[in-house]
């Protein structure tokens, strides 16, 4: 590996905020909108996605020397679909109620662009350790993004967080927040907020460099 290649630790940190899959890259939006009406569902989804992403990254990294260019995507898809099936069955066996609640969104991890893009961009070109660190970082970034959206939606929409009451009893639940329109509006506004924070930080950094 050449000197300018990012190290495993850098890869890990990159995925969390600077290259956050949701806020920066706008990937994997389908589960981001669909399962963020509560923290439990969102975190289960984040866990399942992390499992598939890390397993698929490690495996593609292991076999990266054997990959033929024209069969690459086929191999990735096969790998991801197999791991998703495994995750799906484990959820159905050990978290049946949650698996029922998440419904089709667990199998839809197969077409989550985050995973295939990490396989393509990173793990098919890097060592196992780096690939795993990258997958871990991206998973963490994905989990944080889901948590931010789910926090807003669950607290406003149901007055709870992880199912525990956090709002005072007089709080009138904003039902729309746990329904589809609330998902779109929350993500839209949070994206604007994230851009604003980033712009403000860059401006400050630019100002301090000038001074």
């Amino acid at each position: 590996m050449s000197a300018h290649q990012p190290t495993a630790a850098e890869r890990f940190l990159q995925g969390i905020i600077p290259e956050n899959p949701i806020y920066r890259q706008l990937l994997g939006l389908c589960p981001t909108l669909a399962v963020t009406n509560g923290m439990r569902a969102a975190m289960t989804m984040a866990g399942a996605t992390a499992f598939v992403l890390i397993c698929a990254s490690v495996l593609t990294s292991l076999i990266r020397g054997l990959l033929k260019p024209h069969l690459r995507i086929l191999v990735f898809t096969l790998t991801i679909a197999a791991f998703v099936t495994i995750a799906d069955r484990f959820l159905a066996a050990y978290m049946y109620a949650m698996s029922k609640q998440l419904g089709p969104y667990i199998p839809l991890i197969i077409v989550n662009c985050i995973i295939i893009s990490r396989c393509e961009v990173c793990s098919s070109k890097q060592g196992v350790f780096t690939a795993a660190a990258d997958a871990g970082g991206v998973s963490l970034g994905f989990a944080l993004a889901l948590a931010s959206i789910a926090t807003v939606r669950e607290i406003l929409g149901a007055g709870t967080w992880f199912g525990l009451r956090v709002m005072p009893a007089v709080w009138p639940d904003w039902v729309v927040m746990v329904l589809p329109p609330g998902a779109f509006l929350t993500l839209g506004l949070l994206l604007g907020g994230a851009n604003w924070i980033r712009a403000a930080r860059e401006k400050r950094r630019g100002a301090s460099r000038a001074a």
Partner: protein, 230 residues
């Protein structure tokens, strides 16, 4: 009339009430990515509708004959290999893998076919076809069909006509949503949208308002089917 009622229920549900994009959030990537121009959006919508219908046809056939518990073809194969062992054949664990290959190959096939026989059409929407493989709307339609074929009670197992209705009207609903969005986004090119909300942010907000408007259709499927069943 009974089956017309059931088809209306599925069609209206898939297109308006439980719109693939605005209710189930599937197909968001092209909805955000290819909604800058109305003609492009329309092409994408048609391409998705086309592929989704073909994928639904194939996945229904696979599910019905091979993947559901005690599917006829699976049982026949088991019987042929070792007679008497087919009491409880269930290949549904292979569903996801088979669907994703069905989708990938139908996209390939559609691309080849359109390029060969409709070059003009290919020129305008051929570029979208490779993108569609990772469009979750298509896998979602396959999964809905799986639920209605493998998970349903014997009397409620979906036939091919129901699967195709879901796919066709789901695709048309996607087309409707993406074309509306593209019209709005063309208009927004002239608007003074706050800089941090430009692009994806405002698109999601518009989608949220459209989703609110589409909630007005709640119950329409039920009433229309009731009228037809009467």
């Amino acid at each position: 009339m009974d089956w017309i009622g059931s088809l209306v229920l599925i069609a209206v549900g898939a297109m308006l009430i439980n719109n693939f994009v605005l209710y189930y959030f599937v197909g968001i990537c092209p909805f955000i990515g290819v909604s800058r121009r109305v003609d492009m959006a329309f092409g994408m919508g048609l391409a998705v509708t086309f592929v989704i219908s073909i994928a639904a046809l194939l996945s229904w056939a696979f599910t019905y004959f091979l993947l559901r518990p005690n599917a006829p073809l699976a049982v026949a194969v088991w019987e042929a290999v070792s007679p008497g062992s087919a009491a409880n054949v269930d290949l549904s664990i292979l569903s996801y893998i088979i669907y994703i290959f069905v989708i990938a190959s139908s996209v390939q096939f559609v691309e080849m076919y359109v390029r060969k026989f409709f070059p003009a059409l290919y020129k305008s929407f051929g570029i979208f076809l490779p993108l569609i493989t990772t469009n979750c709307a298509i896998l979602f339609a396959c999964l809905e069909i799986l639920k209605r074929v493998a998970g349903a009670k014997p009397a409620e197992v979906w036939g091919l006509h129901q699967a195709l209705t879901l796919a066709l009207f789901g695709g048309l609903g996607f087309t409707l949503a993406i074309v509306l969005m593209a019209g709005i986004r063309e208009e927004l090119d002239f608007a003074d949208v706050p800089v941090h909300l430009r692009g994806a942010g405002i698109t999601f907000i518009v989608a949220g308002i459209l989703a609110l408007a589409f909630m007005g259709f709640t119950g329409v499927d039920r009433s229309l089917a009731a009228v037809l069943l009467r």
